[in-house]
């Protein structure tokens, strides 16, 4: 659904996005992570034809966004951080206005979308009377109007209270489950990304520094938590026997290729070192992200 090949964007000599390539297949929830100014919004702007790439190719839904914007964006809905509307008009009027930029949309479809996002009864009120949460729901409604196949969400939970964040998260999952949408999500909320996304890419200073499955990130292959009476002695023994390759924080060990936790437990018990616990460590996306950013040097 989304295909970026060697995309670069320079603003007045400053590189905002540098040789970015990735693809998002149909049905996936793909997370785009990175610090402020990493290039996420610029990348999204290029995907939506709002920012012109300096070089590279972008295809949305199989169409080149630069040469065939109309077909590329027809099945796309987008939400941006801090949803903005024509405050002096009603929610329904806003939806009617925005729908005409895509295709003729029936009043029934507008009602359907309003109902889907839970704004029924408030659609005639002026948007200036809406809470931030209601504006977010209206933003979602406008994105759903053209019956999209691809949804691009740029910081959709920005500014929401915990309840609103939870609601938005459930809505995104519902969208994927019930409507089978492909979703590209840019977010600072790493636990949100962890709960929602199947795959992520991390941008740092405009460059992609990681792309992979969330499941792989979380499993952190080979990293094991070890609880023992003498961690230093235990790890020295394990190193000597070639069972581990690294230790971390006097708590974690990294298994050598082909070794299992059973090998570790067996070796320690045989050497008379008591093992209080040994388990596969599950890394959070947050741990992984911070480790990655620190390894690559902060901005």
């Amino acid at each position: 659904m989304i295909e970026l090949r060697n995309v670069c964007k320079k603003f007045a000599g400053r590189i905002a996005v540098d040789d970015l390539s990735f693809t998002v297949p149909r049905g996936e929830i793909f997370g785009l992570l990175g610090h402020n100014g990493a290039g996420k919004s610029t990348a999204i702007g290029m995907m939506l034809g709002q920012v012109w790439p300096t070089s590279g190719a972008l295809k949305i839904c199989g169409h080149d966004i630069q040469t065939n914007r109309r077909d590329a964006l027809r099945p796309v809905g987008a939400i941006f951080e801090t949803p903005v509307f024509y405050d002096y008009l009603s929610g329904a009027r806003n939806l009617e206005i925005l729908s005409t930029y895509t295709a003729p949309t029936s009043k029934a479809r507008i009602r359907e979308v309003i109902e889907w996002v839970g704004l029924t009864g408030r659609e005639s009120s002026k948007v200036r009377t809406y809470s931030h949460g209601m504006r977010s729901r209206l933003a979602l409604a406008q994105a759903l109007l053209p019956k999209p196949e691809l949804l691009i969400l740029d910081e959709p939970s920005d500014g929401l209270d915990p309840e609103g964040i939870h609601e938005m998260r459930q809505t995104i999952l519902r969208l994927q489950r019930e409507l089978g949408l492909t979703i590209l999500l840019s977010s600072h909320l790493l636990n949100e990304v962890e709960q929602l996304c199947t795959r992520i890419a991390v941008l740092q200073n405009g460059k992609k520094v990681f792309e992979g499955n969330v499941a792989d990130v979380k499993s952190a292959r080979g990293k094991v938590a070890l609880k023992t009476s003498d961690f230093a002695k235990a790890t020295q023994l394990l190193r000597e026997r070639g069972l581990i390759t690294a230790t971390e924080l006097e708590k974690y060990i990294t298994l050598a290729e082909g070794r299992s936790t059973a090998d570790i437990a067996q070796a320690l018990v045989a050497a008379g070192i008591a093992v209080d616990g040994i388990w596969q460590h599950e890394q959070t996306v947050k741990d992984f992200y911070l480790g990655l950013i620190n390894r690559n040097g902060k901005k």
């Binding site: 919004s41 709002q50 012109w52 941006f80 509307f85 008009l89 053209p146």
Partner: protein
């Protein structure tokens, strides 16, 4: 689809309170001028001028005459201000508010979007000018009778015209049609600046500066031979409908130049809008 988009653009335009500032200012200014004309020596001076030229003042101090008197300063001062205010908002206000990003995530081309906005701005300009004319005439009619029309002054073309009521009304309508073209040209210049990466106020100020500079240069004796090159020179074409005989070729030449200026401003604006990056 274009009509639906235009209808919604008009909803956006006329849904804003600031759109009505111009209409409100016209009502206030016209009321003030009308009362001043009626209750100061202004009316007496006009009566003496008519009498001095051998005309019966009672036949020409009328709603039509007073409407034109009220119109001139508003056309010169207020109309450019309110039209460029709307023109400066066309694209820049949406970019500033953030709604432009939401619109441009949809499959509408930027040129099409600008065309819709420009068409809405053109309708606004026409409504503003026609409202100005109708309000002026309506207000004047409350205090003055429906009689012959007297137009006099350096506006900047020298005019001294006396017309029967029917003929006067016809010329008054023609004058407003030509003033609409002026307003469209002003709006187009402001709209052009609005397409560049700048704040709406900056676009309005640039457009007003452009018009002011054109007016100043037009009046510098050195440029007298080049007056045709200044847009403000052609803005005065509406006054020529009150000359006898009416110089239609000169009027139409000015109108064509103004329309061509509007089209040029639109094309430059469209190119700038097409090329720029839209960011939050």
């Amino acid at each position: 689809m274009f009509l639906a988009q235009l209808k919604n653009e008009l909803w956006k335009l006329f849904g804003k309170k600031r759109t009505y500032i111009g209409f409100g200012a016209f009502v206030v200014a016209q009321t003030a001028m009308l009362l001043m004309f009626k209750y100061t020596r202004w009316q007496g001076q006009f009566e003496r001028l008519l009498a001095g030229n051998g005309y019966l003042a009672s036949e020409y101090i009328s709603a039509l005459t007073v409407a034109v008197i009220m119109l001139v300063p508003q056309i010169l001062l207020l109309m450019p201000l309110y039209v460029t205010l709307t023109g400066g908002d066309l694209v820049a206000k949406e970019a500033e508010d953030g709604t432009l990003r939401m619109i441009l995530s949809r499959p509408i081309s930027r040129v099409r979007l600008l065309l819709v906005k420009w068409a809405a701005g053109t309708i606004f300009s026409a409504v503003l000018v026609l409202a100005l004319g109708a309000i002026a005439l309506g207000f004047a009619r409350i205090l003055f009778p429906w009689k012959g029309m007297f137009v006099f002054g350096e506006l900047p073309h020298p005019i001294f015209g006396l017309f029967p009521p029917g003929e006067g009304l016809r010329l008054y309508i023609f004058a407003h049609l030509f003033m609409t073209v002026n307003a469209i040209a002003m709006l187009s210049v402001a709209g052009m600046f609005s397409c560049f990466n700048m704040k709406p106020a900056a676009a309005t100020i640039l457009a007003l500066s452009f018009l002011f500079l054109s007016m100043v240069m037009e009046h510098i004796p050195f440029f007298e031979a080049y007056q045709n090159w200044f847009i403000t020179y052609h803005f005065a074409a509406w006054v020529l409908v009150f000359q006898t005989p009416v110089p239609w070729p000169q009027i139409f030449q000015s109108e064509i130049i103004l329309l061509a200026t509007s089209a040029t401003a639109f094309v430059i604006g469209a190119m700038a809008f097409q090329m720029r990056d839209i960011k939050s």
